[in-house]
């Protein structure tokens, strides 16, 4: 009942820092898609949500996917809907991009690039960290 959840907007609930860590490539396993769905659901609870992409997780954000040939949904487009869900804190680890020959220009959404040290500090600040 998302309709009811959404009517509770503006409640005085406790806001915690949630971080969702994405470390898997898309399509090969279901983790990337499931993680994204959990994040979309979490948006209904008005928490302080960040999404992190490290290791093979950076592959989730590659521009120009065409999934017709493997007959699965191209959910890379859904990352562009996150802004509408007020999820705007997207972080990508620089070392993971470097190891895969990728740059920010290869990604489908605007992200903040952090090095491992910065990422570690951000992770340490969280109340809840959930990994996919």
């Amino acid at each position: 009942m998302s309709d009811m959840m959404d009517d509770m907007d503006g409640g005085e609930g406790v806001v915690k820092k949630f971080m969702f860590v994405n470390r898997k490539a898309p399509h090969g396993t279901v983790y990337a898609l499931e993680g994204l769905e959990v994040v979309l659901i979490s948006a209904a609870f008005d928490q302080d949500v960040s999404m992190v992409f490290t290791d093979d997780g950076v592959y989730e954000l590659i521009k120009g996917m065409n999934t017709k040939g493997i007959e699965v949904k191209d959910f890379s487009k859904t990352y562009r809907a996150l802004e509408g869900y007020d999820i705007e804190k997207l972080y990508v680890e620089k070392e993971s991009m470097d190891a895969r020959g990728l740059t920010e220009d290869d990604l489908i959404v605007d992200v903040t690039v952090l090095d491992s040290g910065e990422m570690a500090s951000l992770m340490a600040e969280q109340d809840v960290v959930i990994s996919f």
Binding site: H27, D56, Y59, I62, K63, M65, N66, T67, L102
Partner: protein, 99 residues
């Protein structure tokens, strides 16, 4: 022998093991998340390039397309479609899937 690898080389060691065991003249087909290893700038690219001296590397086109990686394939890697996948299986006497 046709070797088939479907796991990302930056997450599992199946490609590494496969390349260690693949003998001269055999073929290695990368599918699903393994196709990233055949792309420029990938950490596994150097190993794939070195292996190409002895074995032919193939990558499945629909899996590259789905991952937005088709334009980044390493020189020397042959891209095949599903029909080409079937041909590879029938052309080789045996076939090993590195799960």
């Amino acid at each position: 022998m046709l070797h088939i690898v479907n796991k990302s080389a930056t997450e599992r060691n199946s490609l590494e093991s496969c390349l260690r065991m693949a003998t001269k003249g055999s073929a290695v087909l990368l599918i699903e998340d393994a196709v990233y290893a055949a792309t420029q700038g990938s950490a596994a690219a150097a190993k794939v390039q070195a292996a190409m001296a002895d074995v032919q590397i193939y990558a499945l086109g629909p899996d590259l397309d789905a991952r937005g990686m088709a334009a980044r394939v390493l020189d020397g890697v042959k891209v095949v479609d599903y029909g080409g996948f079937v041909d590879l299986v029938t052309e080789h006497n045996s076939c090993q899937s590195w799960l």
